[in-house]
Symmetry: C2
């Protein structure tokens, strides 16, 4: 079977690729576990790896129909659609956000529909689909009320995937990811970028700026658990989802102060002291509109598992990205 | 000011046009009540009227950008977007439903955005955005879970209107209409057609077939009140909507038995006796899945009013469509 990862050069795409290559097989179209013979990594830049005979690196614009028609065929049994314009950029460049977050998602579904073989399609979505006045605890069936263009575009893509699945054009699943922390690499344009930066930078000897106040609550998932959830999301039987293909993944609800306390516990005072506070109203407004507490019992019943604590998340980052030790 | 009605040849579009012409003025772009100098009725067929110097009848495909660019300019202060592909057809012709219910709605918003004057835009939506397991009483913030392509497309258009409004591209409002009863004219293929037919046909001397059992509950709004709600929906100050531009309009929750009792009270035994019962499993299944009870306190706070009772709805039909008397 062939597997396609869009956003394959990104950090989640790269980790997912390595995980799939290590697993060697996956459930796809027919629900039977099959060997992965080809893993296509599509992105606007060439994916740096992994170096493996099964990997095919493709550069292209996912909003171009011809690109998707070239890369999705009847052997493409599973598609992980991770490509996205992040929240900050979708807010500053409305057209680009619409083109990638909504139009490209629809195009992908349409090309699958045209092929007619009903591949498993995993979309990632976001807590940004929620907003406005929210209940104390957010459920899978709490109403969507996005307060950002990114959230509106993701919510629109969710609706499409659900309807294309209901009609039998694809066998789709949408996973609403908590904010991923700790991301490796550089800060990015996402409003939530600091949720990784305030841990990652201090651990690698650099200063970090926290743009929100310490009481701000976040809903977090480690990259490690996110990858496990993506694979599980592809392999779960369609019937288990009932009439709702969208699921809120389990996260850890934690305040910024608690995150820093966990960093201090794991890495010491000197590391935690590298965080500076500088309020950014724009970031506070976007992040403050996201819910911080969730009932994810449905996700758990479906077999998804998150992290046990934020300390575990910090330790997982040190293990996975820093080789198990904190640089002096 | 100019006003545009899409679906202007339809039954609601025609009634709305007559109402606006009679009112002579409307709040639009700047929130000030202004005289209506031009009322554009766009549809795929020529609207039959009204015969008034202010009316401009236009035939065109609403999914064509050039049509909307021709009809929406900086003087277009208010737009009522009623054009839609109905549920049955959107299910049988997926591409047509997507094109009209989703793409044309987006195009309309985009042309407004390009013009830059932030017109008031009123979208109509539907109870079909709900589905699956529903609470006993449906609220404005009950989660959407459409189980039809029509519902998914309407829900997608709702999301777009909300985001375009949040960004200041338009001043939009979405009204989710209850089932409209009593519609004039002929029965149609809609599952809810009987909700008008079992009143309209007996009142005009014809037999009607009721395809569902008498305990089936419906959520109804008269054409008269629907038109009042459309006008109110345009005129309410944007700030009153808060961060949610979508509102469930108030309806009357009534069983089929209660509908027939009201008909008997208003028009007598002989009229009510023209209803025959013939169960239609397909219709019963569809109608039985619709929520029948709603909390519409938000709509009421916003100033929307429904009908006081189903008897009022029957009397309104006799007044508006039968000239105030029941044919012998």
């Amino acid at each position: 079977m062939k597997v396609l990862i869009t956003g394959g050069a990104g950090f989640l795409g790269q980790r997912l690729a390595r995980e799939l290559l290590a697993r060697r097989e996956l459930k796809g179209t027919d629900g039977q576990r099959q060997p992965i013979t080809e893993l296509v990594l599509l992105d606007v830049v060439a994916a740096p790896g992994p170096d493996d005979a099964r990997v095919r690196i493709e550069v292209g614009d996912i909003a171009e129909r011809s690109v998707l028609e070239r890369l999705i065929d009847e052997k493409t049994s599973a598609i992980f659609h991770l490509a996205a314009i992040v929240s900050g950029q979708a807010e500053s460049d409305f057209d680009l956000g619409m083109r990638i977050n909504l139009d490209a998602s629809r195009l992908l579904l349409d090309v699958c529909r045209m092929r007619g073989h009903k591949p498993r399609v995993v979309f990632t979505s976001s807590v940004a689909v929620y907003g406005g006045e929210l209940p104390e605890v957010v459920l899978d069936d709490t109403a969507l009320n996005p307060q950002s263009s990114y959230g509106a575009q993701k919510a629109g893509a969710e609706l499409l995937l659900n309807d294309y699945s209901r009609r039998g054009f694809v066998d789709g699943r949408v996973l609403r990811l908590p904010t991923i922390s700790v991301r490796p690499g550089k800060p990015n344009a996402a409003a939530s970028s600091f949720a990784s930066g305030i841990i990652r930078e201090p651990l690698t000897g650099e200063k970090a700026v926290c743009p929100v106040n310490g009481a701000t609550r976040l809903w977090l998932l480690s990259p490690r658990k996110a990858i496990e959830c993506l694979v599980a999301g592809c392999e779960i039987d369609a019937a288990a989802f009932g009439n709702r293909r969208t699921v809120n993944l389990p996260g850890v609800s934690v305040s910024v102060d608690e995150m820093i306390a966990a960093l201090r516990d794991v890495a010491g005072d000197a590391v935690a002291a590298r965080i500076e506070w500088k309020a950014d109203e724009r970031v506070e407004k976007i992040v403050g509109s996201w819910p911080a507490q969730w009932d994810t019992s449905r996700a758990q019943r479906l077999g998804f598992a998150g992290d046990a604590s934020f300390k575990d998340i910090v330790r997982a980052f040190i293990d996975d990205e820093l080789g198990g030790t904190i640089p002096a």
